[in-house]
Subunit: 179 residues, 2 copies
């Protein structure tokens, strides 16, 4: 065994494996042992690099941060939907982390990264729903959000641009037809 790279290399391999597994099974359903065996290590080795487990999700989500603030700089409306589609497709490998897993994970203490993610998610919803949404608008908003998440998660094997185009058309059709 050449033990080729140093620690930074295995750190990166762990992140890569975790990203794939989290996208496929979700955060809670993926154990440290699963990630470890995917990289050829023990679970304690994974825990050594990422401690606690949350840190894995945190570091995976971090690169999307600047795209998030850029996205929130857009007020709303059709342009917002378009950019939201781009964002979701670009970060599709971690979209499940953002949309589903974090909020269900052992309820985040205030100030934690999980709290920020939840705030982001709520903000996205508010931008789409608008102020004081009536029941119809609420349904339509969740329809759009569900469409975005589900479609990127289930088509991870397709080229990014292919998914983006189809999804954009669908999202705009949904947006333009809302009551």
């Amino acid at each position: 065994m050449t033990t080729s790279g140093n620690g930074d290399d295995t750190r990166e391999r762990i992140l890569q494996a975790a990203r794939a597994l989290f996208a496929e099974r979700g955060y809670a359903a993926t154990s440290l042992a699963d990630i470890a065996s995917a990289v050829g290590l023990t679970k304690t080795a994974v825990a050594y690099h990422f401690h606690p487990k949350d840190r894995l999700a945190t570091e995976l989500i971090a690169p999307a941060a600047e795209d998030i603030v850029a996205l929130l700089a857009i007020g709303g409306g059709r342009v917002f939907v378009t950019e939201l589609v781009t964002f979701v497709v670009r970060h599709r490998a971690i979209i499940r982390l953002i949309m589903d897993d974090i909020r269900h994970a052992d309820s985040a203490p205030p100030g934690s990264p999980g709290e920020a993610i939840r705030a982001f998610r709520d903000e996205i919803y508010n931008r789409l729903a608008g102020p004081d949404p009536d029941p119809a608008r609420r349904v339509r908003t969740w329809t759009l959000l569900g469409a975005l998440q589900y479609s990127v998660v289930e088509t991870a094997d397709l080229p990014e641009e292919t998914v983006r185009k189809s999804l954009l058309a669908a999202a705009l059709a949904l947006w333009d037809s809302r009551g």
Copy 2:
């Protein structure tokens, strides 16, 4: 304590609590202890009535069975989408069980109810996607399925008919605009 009803009564109360909790947190994230404390019993009491845990999900899904076969009797197309919306809204409390939880649960042995649910789910997908779907069609199909599931799960507090109308409009807009 009058110990009012007999066993059938508590059985029903357990089912009701489980349905609510499964809809809210999902199957895997809901423990027998959670259900038990919601009904005011111990987890062994719940296990006594429903054994193993799968049986809870099985009995909750069972009432939807005839609606499922009725739904699959429809060939496809716009009518199928309409009836699918009705089905999803009517059984929204257990739609998460059908769409998400069952397939992830400890991989079902052949012949088990979980296997049937997966087959149903796949069949729905095939009806919507059609034979040999291209990438665009695949994306559009998951978009529709995601829209259906997400919107009913997140609007459980709204009247059934309200959700149905809004969701139907959205689903048809999605369907009619597919490539």
